[in-house]
């Protein structure tokens, strides 16, 4: 008994040390980005780790004035919002159709057809799709949005079909006896029931699309005006490589929207994401 008690204490101390080190490892880099974004190059060169001598917003003002930050923010917002809307319309409805007709050959076939995407690494698709989009004159926001909708189907349908098949069928049945059409049943009965999965899909895909780098790099890298925030940051590296406090400001501004959203709803975000992965 006594030995177990000692064990316990050693473990508690060890645990707290581990967690503390982890917290430092996560927060210290972000802290450095924050403080240096308020410094001039000269000040940061003198002491990288010290607090800024004053809250100097010059980097921010210059960034807003000289770069197209607002345009990139708007582009990112536009692409994310439209793609997500499209995804949230398409994925639950097709999944409902598949889940409630799984005994029919057509629906079973398209289910496995959509799941094929699980086995295919993105690189196989990305090269030919870039050529195709260029041929179709779709190297623009519209094209990118359609690609996100198409590429989101595999995972989304996989999550939703399994979820809907686990729901009781009786409520829908009685709704249909009461005279509801399939579409009415879907909107009034099924959609409210799948709300938890909708929030999971929403969070997963917002994070994916907002932070995605590869697809915008291939589809939008022609002209600056159509860039998204990740592209802006990447190109910032080459453009402003000498002015690193400015670069820190840019990184901070790119992270900020997501961090604000996370602060507001972190409980739901963590919960939603876990639900998706445990099911998947």
């Amino acid at each position: 008994m006594k030995k177990a008690g000692k064990d316990e204490r050693v473990w508690l101390v060890l645990r707290n040390i581990i967690l503390l080190c982890g917290l430092i490892l996560i927060l210290f880099p972000l802290w450095l980005v924050l403080i240096n974004s308020f410094k001039t190059l000269e000040e940061a060169g003198k002491n990288f780790f010290a607090l800024p001598s004053r809250l100097n917003f010059d980097n921010y003002l210059e960034l807003f004035a000289n770069s197209n930050y607002w345009i990139f923010l708007r582009n990112s917002l536009k692409i994310t919002v439209i793609s997500i809307t499209l995804i949230l319309i398409l994925v639950p409805s097709i999944s409902y159709a598949i889940a409630r007709n799984f005994n029919k050959k057509y629906y079973k076939t398209i289910y496995y057809y959509l799941l094929l995407g699980l086995f295919i690494p993105s690189q196989v698709v990305l090269l030919p799709v870039t050529k195709m989009m260029s041929k179709l004159n779709m190297l623009n926001h519209g094209g990118l949005i359609l690609l996100y909708a198409a590429f989101s189907l595999t995972q989304g349908v996989f999550l939703f079909v399994n979820y809907i098949r686990g729901l009781p069928y009786e409520i829908e049945e009685s709704a249909q006896i009461d005279g509801c059409s399939v579409f009415q049943t879907y909107v009034r009965i099924v959609l409210p029931l799948v709300k938890p999965m909708i929030s999971t899909l929403l969070i997963m895909d917002v994070l994916w699309i907002w932070n995605d780098f590869m697809l915008p790099l291939l589809i939008l890298n022609r002209t600056q005006e159509i860039w998204t925030l990740p592209l802006f940051q990447y190109n910032f590296k080459t453009e402003y490589s000498f002015n690193y406090t400015m670069a820190f400001t840019a990184y901070l501004l790119a992270m900020l929207p997501m961090l604000i959203i996370y602060c507001m709803g972190q409980k739901y975000i963590v919960k939603g994401l876990t639900a998706g992965s445990v099911k998947g």
């Binding site: 581990i18 097709i94 086995f119 295919i120 690494p121 994070l207 780098f213 994401l273 445990v278």
Partner: protein, 294 residues
Amino acid sequence: MKGTNRKKMSGRLTFFLFTLIPVILYTFFYVVSVINGVRYSFTDWDGMAQKFNFIGLKNYQTLFKNPYFWNSLKTTVLYSIMLVIGVIVTSLILSISLNSLKAFKTLTKSIYFVPAMIGGVTIALIWDQLYYRVLPVIGKALGIGWLSNSLLMTGKTALPAVVFVQVWQAVAMPTVIFIAGLQQIPDEQYESAKIDGATAFQRFRYVTLPYLLPTVTVNLVLTIKQGFTSFDFPYALTGGGPVRATEVIGILIYNDAFKNMRFSLANAEACVLFVIVALFSLTQLKLTSKGGTD
């Protein structure tokens, strides 16, 4: 009778219409692209020319003779192994630590999840600066020679340094998934183990681990796939350098397709990756479904 029949028909039509747009989108943008990709891998297309010829397996022959291709395969495997070990071990330790925490639990958990909110490129660019400006300072202060330059600039340290940055981000998800798994372990199990005089390690070995095993599989699959297809982190941190030390297959494919004008060869490389990932996924599927019936 006629009314119900018509209703049934319209119901069937609704279901069918629900599937229509997604199937078209998926077929047109995804499946056609995959088929095109495989097709291009048998041609000599540079990605620009109007015309191209089918040359059979020649791209694959060139590929298998190319030492850079083998190098990138080796790098990818090494990358994935390091990533998996780093992510699984760290997230396991973190989840057990976090789960047993009493004070500040929610706050600590939320901070640990912050990296999952930030894009890979942003993280990579921040760490690029840290490797360049912070670590050498620490290295000098402690008198550690190999820290005096950016780790990304030396061939030997570049790959682990890139993997570390991806681990920094990729740990968040598995940690939360592990915590969800841990919460399913009934408290009585620990109580009785404690009464039996089990040490902390024994409790981990005989109570925690068996319960966590299914969750380990989930996390393993997620992470291995991330490793095989990694691109953002090495691309933004090193671009594949120095001297191809971090040139994973994702970067090789991108460079061959869009920089070296060897588009069809890049498609062949992607197809090889395809075969590897597919074989791996199938094996994994078989293993887990077997585990499920046992």
